[in-house]
Point group: D2
């Protein structure tokens, strides 16, 4: 998942603003004393722990940790000390300045607009913690939405050559260089090479309570089955359709009176909020992936 | 589902106590004027409508209705008038005296006791609206529970001949003649002939949010998949495993901290309340089955 | 609430388009046979009942009913027949063509923008069932939002003379002649005369689970009290602050980690969806007010 | 809240079984390096951190922490090291062996039995993590319940002298020496002296979503107000009625169809599960009280 042969310079770049403190995330095999080592390193680097969350999966032997460190910490010193720990433990860590620039998200969508509309409207009033830098779509329905908010819109229709559209999409995304890619009801499966390129940086909203109703038309299938609750799932995209690590889920009760259209309407509210929640959790570095599962420190 | 060639006598038996009114349920193809016909019939029989719920599935062309009729209605007269309607419409109806005797439920379980324990404890304090007339189990774990409450316990172990145990179970149930059979974490699949014998009178609790995790070990599979919500489903038993019409579902949020044991514990609370809710809905004649789906008038 | 001395002409206006059927709502004292009378009237007017919901409050003696009648009904004939019923029963009814024009809502807000932003964004993609015809505010924060969507913005600052601003607001609303007024986090109490003028047509979103935390700063007070759940309430506005009939409520679980800012953020999601839900219920004629309570036929 | 002049012997008693590890809870003013100090102390005492939860309330300057330490820790050594920290910081800590005896709870109730019935039934099947050592009531309704489970029942009727009954109750509780007192719908206010005697060891279930509907008849008042959601709250008992620190809350949606009886029935399910949850959280040392609020590390 990451190159373990790192140096402090990989984590502390010239120009980073550490003046407001930082968020440290750690993922490693579970070892005796690891929390003490981390806490001591932070203290030795002049940092105070504001919030520490950790989880040890005793069955799998995985350890994950998220620490908010207050202002005053010497980031380079902390990275040096963590690299010492790393020399004897296959640990992966990230350090993120709290005073970092706002994250930049590329949003992909098709013809269903409530998710991209909600994201872009939240972003405009400062309730998403990221900037929507582009709307990219295989359809044109979102063009007006993008224009309202002055967001660049890229139309990538799929013609006879599906692979060609995927290459174009890859080029567009490379150009944008986003921190995060959001599939906001984008009704196409991304090619594996593109998923790998942005591993754990692509979030999809699926309009069902996964693993129920994987694939297309989940509301129609939910109606067919006669369920009394419908849901939405936000997850990291992997090569397996709808099988990536789940970040957030929520549900809403329905009744026999809800036909497919009614489910679609009620579900839309859940999709909106679950997707926005997952993006927030990701941007605040609250999600640590353990294989096919996530730790969410919220 | 029922013999349509009925007479008023099929619905009004000597000894029924109609003095406190009745609950009428109707299931038929959707026709113009059916609600007016039913309402007029009730009025003509001296009844006042306390609560009327109806649902027309316009896609399938199904109609369902539940009416609470206040005291003063002439039940025999109502049945006569409904039979007239029935002569030109393939309508199925039930009439249940509000002053009927308490329903009698046979509860089947295995070694997991929270569901049968909850049902029997609720019944003892009058919060289930039915009497648990027997605990029947392929294991012995529930014996002490049954004894505490003075409920007959029948142990039907499965030996080499599984069919033999099923025949015994059929005999025990025939002897009990229950209004309702509850599979309260009974870990065996009932044979098709037994399911048919008690059609729409067997309620099962499944410890997942169906259709996710059909079958065994749903909590282990939910943990494996890394879901953030778990659920429970109460449904009528049909010949297809975990595919019967759903009566009630509920869910609870979990986190990465919940291992399989934690999910099992949290899920138990939901199973308890969903099963008790489904039994109440069934006993109050609030569930009408449309094919593989239910209308729940609650 | 309404002049009972009505004529069919009060309910059926030249130019109404009844071709797709209608929604009938009725509110009256509870009487024997009222459902039958209504159902017979509908049938006699050539109408078929698609959905009928009714509720009788047996303690208060109130009756409420909502009926969706399919295309083919003769609206004038139905109104004539209902007026006959009305001659012997103090019944209030409304008839709304399903093919009516889209409702027109005036949205009032202050500096907090997530509710007006959500409403206007939903309306723009056809997920609110009404048009936002104006944003009116005592502040200027919403001006940019209004401009994005081409919605007229009226700034009504409060100077030394509060009553003057209220008069201006009344004039603006009279000019707009909205079907519905939405207080989308408008941080002022409307004067009683204005509330009366738009009785049961003003919906407010309050950012607490009423009746907990009536008044200002509910999240701060929720934090102070240490609650584990916060909520939002949409209600009709009456002369009593935060005491009007409740249309919809929802809640979200929080933890000790949520400070006031965290509660505010989480609560915003609930406010959005509760307000949109209440508006939908109101516009679909699903809310009938019984004194200080509502029947919501959803 | 506690005598800060402690010694290791106050925390480590002869006979304690520390072989399976321990749970450490800490409450103190927030200080730089406190997590590092605790983690180092645990490591130095041979312990490994399985789970660490901490929370710093930056506004109030409070710090709370809960640590599960695996087997192998030297409890006496840990207590010595913690006492060193304590010499310079007004820190309160508890150490609880994971292999401790099952906790002992005294349950108080009146005539409403679903809460005591649920607790006693859960305890009997090992789903409560404590033993119900006594049922104490001002009424006789629970006698049969107690007898079913072989639990001692004490009837303390209130005669003309209310204070006399309270003295008897104090004597009964002193005799029982419970780890925990549960007010399971006990319809009397405990005297202040009794509350103080068992500070943070008395849990009450209140049948509303506090702070809404403090005091008696919350369901009737919820119905009067026309709320769409009802709730239940489990909290530590303090001298102020229904104002103690909240441990757990949950809610359920209702409709206009739910009269007071319906609310009471639906609410009962929530009361059951909220009370059981709060007891579990308390027994697992997951609740740390910060003034009028709680941290719940779940």
């Amino acid at each position: 998942m990451a190159d373990l042969d790192t140096s402090p310079d990989d984590h502390v770049t010239v120009g980073d603003d550490w003046s407001k403190g930082l968020i440290l995330t750690v993922r490693s095999p579970d070892r005796v004393g690891i929390v003490a080592s981390l806490a001591s390193s932070i203290q030795a680097a002049g940092g105070n722990i504001v919030e520490l969350d950790q989880h040890a999966d005793v069955v799998e032997g995985d350890f994950g940790c998220r620490v908010e460190v207050a202002e005053g910490v010497d980031a380079l010193e902390l990275a040096r000390r963590l690299d010492v720990i790393q020399s004897s433990l296959p640990m992966i860590y990230t350090m993120t300045p709290i005073a970092r620039r706002r994250s930049r998200a590329a949003v992909l969508c098709s013809s269903t607009l409530h998710c991209p509309s909600d994201l872009i409207a939240r972003s405009a009033i400062g309730q998403l913690d990221c900037e929507v830098i582009a709307l990219v779509s295989d359809r044109t329905a979102a063009r007006e939405l993008a224009q309202r908010y002055g967001v660049p819109f890229t139309h990538l229709p799929v013609g006879e050559d599906r692979a060609e559209q995927e290459r174009q999409l890859g080029d567009v995304l490379d150009e944008l260089d986003p921190d995060l890619i959001v599939l906001a009801r984008y009704m196409r499966v991304l090619p594996a090479w593109l998923v790998l390129r942005y591993e754990q940086r692509i979030i999809n909203i699926h309009h069902s309570f996964l693993p129920a109703f994987v694939g297309s038309n989940p509301y129609a299938r939910a109606h067919e089955r006669g369920v009394k609750i419908i849901g939405a799932t936000a997850h990291y995209v992997t090569a397996d359709l709808d099988a990536g690590p789940i970040i957030a889920q929520d549900v809403v009760h329905i009744s026999h009176r809800d036909d497919v259209a009614g489910m679609t309407r009620r579900g839309a509210d859940i999709e909106r909020s679950v997707l926005a929640t997952a993006i927030r959790l990701h941007l605040e570095q609250r999600v640590i992936v353990f294989g096919s599962r996530t730790c969410v420190f919220d």
